[in-house]
């Protein structure tokens, strides 16, 4: 059993598990932090961005000034943003049989895998994962395609040139593999390969293994996966949450008794408690708006935004913000808000019951009805006529490199009355803000990451007790900035095996058993013999038939009747030669009695030596050695077959035969 690690990002994993005869890809997350090296794509022409000076080398050489621009001491690539794909060289991805998706954030690289590697298998995911994943991809494609960029920079990627660049460009990894965003056509094609599954549904893969999605409590439709055969069980834990937010709670019990538990997708901000952060978010929002400023919340169009809106729903009246408009701007805003209301079966119990009231599960429906929350596909069109300040705007993309958020940053960045509140934990807010510096607006960092923290992981591991834990290397030591926080790492026994990008791990357990079925007529013919109280044995002579990873013992063909000469000859050709089987032996040899027997049979000068595994009986005169161990006996003598057979028969006297 092997694990091929294609991604180094612990929360955007992409691993391939080879288990029995199957090749299973676990998630295909897309690392978008690479886009932070690029200049933002402004939706409305930005004189500031277009007039940034080109960057030149220390010696004044300016051959890169078209590709690289300088802003407040940072250097950015002026090109269509590119993403860092999972490793494609470590394993031939056309051999992947299935891809299991655990949540909509972990499928963003799917079109790259399914459309460009020769992949011909099936993708499994829950319905909300697919629908919301589609929205995220659609938004991403839309954000990038609607701001066509004439140039695509590639000079800077040259290894010799990259070395000369300032950080962080100099340290960017695998820049040659970075790719532009996929197209909507590729997205559609990729999504068409997905087969929908429900929680606890058992899916057979080639009869060899069974995969089952379990609720992971993190997002609508988010799953952990169980991959098991008759005697082995591997659990794959991706983004999971034990907090009571909107999704169905996490199913922990089904993870018990795993041989291997692959643990990814823990919280990215282990020191920030989501509750405290939500409070912080609300306080800062209210403080800004009360002072007449605007609030910008860069976010994804699904996920935490539902919880934030719910929290604000309860808070705005108390904070005296009833008259402040809330805008949600995304090409998929409408679908996202509506989808969330129809996935009743994937919601937490509280919200499920509301469906029967009848009341929409999420209160954002009421915010929309009362005109407190308005949503628009883009800032062009209706929004520009409705727009009223002060206001709160939720819009993407959290990287601040594309999407409507770029415009609001340009618009509001100059006033210290305004605030940008970062809630998504995926991007470093300082890096995200770098191309907008100098910035007068206030910046508040309230990362809300509901995924498991280390205390919860430690409880989970105690509860489900896997034999082995495998996790990204980042989880096996405290974060570099908080090296004293020994609580911020996985602590389990035996210690977790860690992996990093482009590594292949041999998983530390051996397959020992395989299930074999016996045909009923064969089973009927068996004659068990009790060898110990409670234990009976029977010998089986059969033909092992293996097909689709199922093993069946069938009755052996009958020996042909010795009738006609020709026929007989043919029969012997067809049927495998069934030799007369030697009897099976059992029991142990009592050394003292054995020696006495040898003496009775005329052997003398016998010496017995104890060894680690048993005994050696030395017949010095005959220059012969009998090595008796628990499961074998060897007679070693020089070319004296007669002597060997005599001794063998004496040994056999002590053993049972059947």
């Amino acid at each position: 059993m092997k694990l091929y690690c294609l991604s180094g990002h612990p929360t955007l994993p992409c691993n391939v598990l080879k288990f029995k005869s199957t090749t299973i890809m676990l998630d295909c997350g897309l690392d978008m932090t690479s886009t932070l090296n690029f200049l933002p794509l402004p939706l409305v022409q930005s004189p500031r961005l277009s007039n940034l000076p080109g960057w030149s080398l220390k010696d004044g050489n300016a051959f890169l000034d078209k590709e690289l621009k300088e802003c407040s001491g940072h250097v950015f690539v002026d090109s269509v943003p590119e993403f860092c794909l999972p490793e494609t060289e470590l394993i031939d991805l056309s051999t992947v049989d299935v891809i299991l998706i655990s949540n909509y954030h972990c499928m963003m690289a799917l079109p790259y895998i399914t459309e460009h590697t020769g992949f011909s298998g099936t993708v499994y995911a829950t319905e909300p994962t697919v629908q919301i994943g589609r929205l995220l991809m659609e938004e991403l494609v839309n954000f990038i395609e609607r701001v066509p960029k004439a140039q695509s920079a590639s000079l800077w990627k040259n290894k010799d040139i990259q070395r000369l660049l300032p950080s962080p460009l100099k340290d960017a990894v695998e820049v040659s593999t970075w790719r532009r965003c996929y197209t909507m056509q590729e997205v559609n094609s990729a999504l068409s390969k997905i087969q929908l599954v429900g929680y606890s549904q058992k899916i057979e893969l080639f009869g060899a293994v069974q995969v089952t999605p379990l609720s992971s409590g993190y997002a609508l439709g988010s799953s952990n996966w169980i991959i098991q055969s008759h005697y082995e069980k591997v659990s794959y834990v991706s983004g999971s949450s034990l907090l009571t937010t909107h999704p169905q709670p996490m199913d922990q019990a089904s993870l018990k008794n795993s041989d291997v538990l692959i643990l990814t997708g823990l919280t990215q901000i282990p020191t920030a408690n989501p509750d405290g952060m939500v409070g912080e978010f609300c306080s800062n929002l209210a403080l800004t708006v009360r002072n007449g400023g605007n609030v910008l919340v860069p976010c994804y169009p699904s996920g935490v935004i539902y919880d934030l809106l719910e929290c604000l729903y309860q808070y705005i009246d108390s904070a005296g913000l009833s008259n402040i408009p809330f805008y949600f701007i995304s090409p998929v805003a409408n679908s996202s808000l509506e989808f969330s209301q129809i996935f009743a079966e994937w919601l937490c119990h509280n919200k499920q019951t509301k469906v029967y009231l009848p009341e929409p599960p999420f209160p954002h429906a009421e915010l929309i009805q009362t005109n407190k929350l308005k949503h628009y596909p883009s800032l062009h069109g209706d929004f520009s006529s409705d727009f009223r300040q002060p206001c709160v705007v939720f819009t993407g993309h959290p990287s601040l490199r594309f999407g409507d958020v770029v415009h609001f940053m340009e618009l509001w960045g100059k006033s210290s009355l305004n605030t940008v509140i970062f809630t998504e934990p995926d991007f470093s807010y300082l890096e995200a803000l770098a191309p907008y510096q100098p910035l007068a607006m206030k910046c508040i960092y309230c990362p809300i990451d509901t995924r498991l923290n280390f205390i919860q992981v430690s409880k989970l591991l105690k509860e489900v007790q896997p034999l082995h834990v495998v996790c990204p290397e980042q989880y096996t030591q405290p974060p570099p900035a908080q090296s004293h926080r020994m609580d911020l790492m996985i602590d389990c026994q035996p210690p977790a095996m860690s992996y990093r990008r482009a590594e292949v791990l041999a998983l530390p357990f051996k397959r020992r058993y395989e299930k074999i079925e016996i045909m009923p007529e064969l089973a009927d013919a068996l004659v068990p013999m009790e060898i110990k109280p409670g234990i009976s044995l029977a010998t089986v002579s059969a033909v092992l038939h293996t097909k689709d990873n199922k093993h069946i013992l069938q009755p052996p063909p009958r020996p042909a009747q010795p009738t006609g000469g020709k026929k007989r000859k043919r029969a012997t050709e067809d049927i495998p030669d069934c030799k007369v089987l030697k009897p099976l032996l059992s029991g142990s040899i009592p050394v003292e009695q054995f020696v006495q027997t040898l003496e009775k049979h005329g052997f003398s000068d016998i010496k017995v030596e104890d060894t680690a595994k048993g005994h050696i009986v030395l017949l010095q005169e005959a220059e012969t050695l009998i090595q008796i161990e628990e499961d074998s006996t060897h007679i070693i003598c020089d070319n004296d077959e007669m002597l060997r057979v005599r001794l063998r028969d004496l040994v056999l006297k002590f053993l049972q035969k059947f």
Binding site: E280, N284, R290, S318, C446
Partner: protein, 846 residues
């Protein structure tokens, strides 16, 4: 029976032969299997002693009083005297409620009342009969013995009820049939009394100081205690220790020292056992002995025993003993040092674990004991947290005492409190494994945070090195800022911050904050701004309270004013007047009232708006007073208005009469009696100001206080009439809520006394006006308060005042307490009725 003891009464012996079965034999030794049995048998001793003092006749009367009435009457007749059938019917349901942990009992008051009633019932009649006729009571008491999740209120109630019932001899016997913990406890109490009584001795002279010469009864008891102390079963040892604790607590005669000398080897012997049995009771006993003035501690080896105990007990068990020792007035210095070291040990251990270099950390010698440094100091989270919290609590109790250890290690304690808070908050940087372990244990621990903040606040009374004080403010700011601080932790952080700001060094001749504190304030105000916008109402509430406190103390100081006015805090506070949570609105009203008093509602840069802004606050508060649906904000408004009137607030002083008239009119119609009562308070202030009472006024008031009137009385009363103060006061006189009526009565009596001394006013006693007012008042008293009194002339008011029997009314009000609600039946009904609705009322506190 042994000598000196009378034979038990025939009735008692006949009714309940003891397990020994040799009652009648006068010389049979007294078996002592159970303290309770002993107590029951010794009952006669009590009777004898008391009887001899009272004389035989009185003794007979006492017995008669207990027994004859119930023999004379049929049981049904008796139960009429003790408990009526209606109550008897309600009692089983009530007992079921009390026994059910899922049904919380209304409050302690109900149980107190219930207990009072039971006392009356048992005093009037037989407890035995009460139990026999109401088996549900015995069931309840037996139910309490089962280990279960009982509320402490009910448990305490049951214990005390058992005591009340078992105080009667036959009832005691009756309860003995059950395996009753309470009876054992009561028996222990009884033993103490018997011991005390037997030692007083019938001969009259002081008892011998030789234990061998003591009365046989006393010797038996002491023997029994000795036997119990030698026992292996912890409950038996506990009981013996408790009996001794009570003995030394109650009795300080010289013989107690003999008793201690005799028993102390056995007590010390307990320390040899592992684990030490009944450690808690042992500590109680040792402290009881140490506090007893009857013992000369130094001569009986007590100090040695205490020192030995301190070193044998676990740190958790030793804490209370150490605190007790340090509270003792005279105690050897070495023992005090040892006790103090016990209390300091957990904190010293924390400091040591967090020290960058393991050099001297100012820890007193011997504090960091072996157990702490040997690597097994703080085993589990629960144990570590418990130990630290107790240690902090003990030290906090010790802090204000005059006998606290000297020198007091202020710097060490400050450092420890700061370190603990840093550990809990995650900002500590441990250098060793022990520190990292502590960090993991304490991270986010609210209990330790609360205890450490309380302690830190208490430490503000002392001084500290500058760099430590800087650290204190830094850690407080960290807590005030942290999004993870729970509301209670935050409240305590605010309290501690306020205390530390109060204690920060003052610039000579100036009451303003010192430059460091002002710097801190600059960091603090943005935090306060954010907290005022918190989605958690408890946080908004405590932020407002903190602001009010700050403004009250430094509102007049330039540095504070400047910082506050430059922030958004006043504006945000004003917005919280419309908060959806009534507690927050109330706190916002108080805060705004305070800000306004200090002229901090508007930036001083725009004086042209000042009047308008202030007016609008008055209007806003009046609006709250007349429209807010909750009582708390309205009460807060009345308090602010009263204060404003008292301080001659600029806004009020402009047209005081109009202000008072408006407020009284609104307050008189308020449904909340506290608002009406506060209205009378405001009326009193106005009255005092009008009639010239000395009063305090705010130093920052814009206009000088109203001058006392010098003209004739009628003129002086005119303003009161114009604001319709009498309409309000007379109406309040017949208020359905007693406190309002009482307050009004006091106000009118004060006014009458004031006017009686004045002369020059003709009373119009028989004018038609007076008659109509009196008629109106009679209608009011009858409940019809629709018709107003109209404009009153001072003469009419005085006439009515004289004609009213205010003293009589005051007497009636003082007497007419809740006599209606006092009936036991209504008490039982109320308790049963409230059981269902309790859940809703529990969330009020945080």
């Amino acid at each position: 029976m042994t000598e000196g003891l009378p034979a038990p009464s025939a009735g008692l012996a006949g009714a309940r032969p003891g397990p020994g079965g040799t009652e009648s034999g006068g010389s049979a030794p007294l078996p002592l299997p159970l303290p309770a049995l002993l107590a029951a048998r010794l009952w006669g001793a009590d009777a004898l002693t008391a009887g001899e003092a009272l004389g035989p006749r009185a003794r007979a009367w006492r017995r008669d009083a207990r027994t004859y009435p119930r023999l004379a009457h049929a049981p049904s007749g008796i139960s009429g005297l003790t408990m009526d059938p209606e109550c008897s019917q309600l009692l089983p349901a009530l007992c079921a409620v009390l026994a059910d942990p899922r049904q919380p009992v209304a409050d302690d008051t109900c149980l107190e009342k219930l207990l009072d009633w039971f006392k009356t019932v048992t005093e009037a009649g037989s407890s035995l009969l009460l139990l026999q006729e109401n088996p549900c009571l015995v069931e309840l008491l037996c139910h309490m013995l089962k280990p279960q999740d009982l509320s402490s209120r009910v448990l305490s109630f049951s214990l005390r009820l058992t005591g009340v019932l078992a105080a009667q001899e036959d009832c005691f016997q009756y309860l003995q049939e059950d395996s009753s913990l309470f009876v054992a406890s009561a028996a222990g109490q009884l033993l103490v009394h018997i011991l005390g009584l037997s030692m007083q001795g019938p001969a009259g002279g002081p008892p011998s100081l030789q234990a061998g010469d003591w009365p046989a009864c006393a010797q038996k008891i002491v023997g029994h205690i000795e036997e119990s102390l030698r026992a292996t079963a912890t409950p038996q040892i506990t009981q013996a220790l408790n009996v001794l604790t009570t003995t030394f607590g109650h009795c300080h005669d010289p013989w107690t020292q003999v008793l201690w000398v005799q028993l102390s080897p056995l007590v010390a012997g307990l320390l040899e056992k592992d684990p030490i049995p009944a450690a808690h009771s042992l500590v109680d006993l040792l402290l009881s002995v140490a506090r007893s003035p009857g013992l000369s501690s130094s001569s009986c080896g007590l100090w040695e025993t205490l020192a030995q105990t301190l070193s044998h007990l676990s740190p958790t068990q030793a804490g209370p003993l150490a605190l007790g020792i340090l509270k003792l007035q005279d105690c050897p210095q070495a023992l005090r040092a040892q006790a103090f070291a016990v209390l300091l040990q957990p904190l010293a251990c924390v400091l040591k674990a967090m020290a960058q270099d393991p050099g001297p950390s100012g820890v007193p010698d011997g504090t960091v004991g072996d157990s702490m440094t040997a690597g097994t100091p703080l085993p589990s989270k629960a144990a570590c947290v418990g130990l630290l919290c107790r240690s902090l609590a003990h030290l906090e109790l010790l802090l204000p005492l005059p006998q606290r250890p000297c020198p007091w290690p202020q710097a060490l304690l400050l450092g420890a409190a700061v370190t603990l808070l840093q550990l809990c908050g995650g900002s500590a940087r441990p250098a060793c494994d022990m520190g990292r372990h502590l960090c993991t244990l304490l991270l986010g621990c609210v209990r330790v945070q609360r205890a450490a903040l309380d302690f830190l606040g208490a430490l503000s009374d002392g001084t500290g090195p500058r760099e430590l004080v800087t650290q204190v403010f830094a850690v407080l700011l960290e807590y005030l800022r942290s999004p993870d601080s729970s509301p209670t932790v935050l409240k305590k952080a605010f309290q501690a911050t306020f205390r530390w700001l109060l204690s920060s060094p003052k610039t000579p001749g100036c009451w303003d904050l010192d430059p460091h504190a002002l710097l801190f304030l600059r960091d603090l105000l943005p935090v306060l701004q954010k907290r005022l916008c918190s989605p958690c109402w408890e946080v908004r509430d405590s932020s407002l309270e903190f602001l009010t406190q700050m403004t009250r103390h430094w509102g007049g100081q330039a540095g504070f004013r400047h910082a506050l006015l430059a922030s958004e805090v006043p504006k945000l506070t004003e917005q919280l007047l419309r908060d959806p949570e009534s507690y927050v609105r109330a706190s916002a009203v108080t805060a705004m009232g305070q800000l306004s008093s200090q002229g901090l509602c508007v930036p001083p840069a725009s004086p042209e708006h000042q009047g308008g802004q202030q007016k609008s606050l008055l209007v806003e508060l009046l609006h709250i007073l007349s429209t807010d649906s909750e009582g708390f904000p309205r009460r807060a408004v009345m308090q602010v208005f009263t204060q404003w009137l008292r301080d001659s607030h600029a806004d009020v002083a402009g047209d005081t009469e109009q202000f008072v008239a408006g407020v009284l009119q609104v307050a008189s119609q308020d449904l909340d009696w506290e608002v009406r009562a506060q209205g009378l308070e405001l009326a009193l202030v106005f009255l005092e100001q009008t009639l010239g009472q000395p009063r305090s006024h705010c130093p920052h008031a814009v206009t000088p206080p109203v001058e006392a009137p010098v003209g004739p009385l009628a003129q002086a009363l005119q303003p009161l009439c114009r604001v319709r103060l009498f309409d309000f006061a007379f109406r309040a006189l017949f208020d359905c809520d007693r406190p309002v009526a009482q307050k009004s009565c006091d106000l009118l009596l004060f006014l009458r006394a004031k006017t009686a001394s004045s002369s020059g006013l003709q009373e119009s006693q028989s004018s038609p006006d007076v008659a109509s007012v009196e008629a109106a008042l009679q209608r009011w008293q009858a409940g019809d308060q629709a018709q107003p009194l109209g404009d009153l002339e001072p003469e009419v008011v005085l006439a009515v005042l004289r004609s009213l029997d205010l003293e009589g009314l005051r007497g009636a009000l003082a007497e007419s307490s809740d006599h209606v609600e006092k009936s036991p039946q209504s008490l039982l009904q109320d308790m049963l009725a409230t059981v269902g609705v309790l859940g809703e009322n529990e969330a009020d506190c945080y």
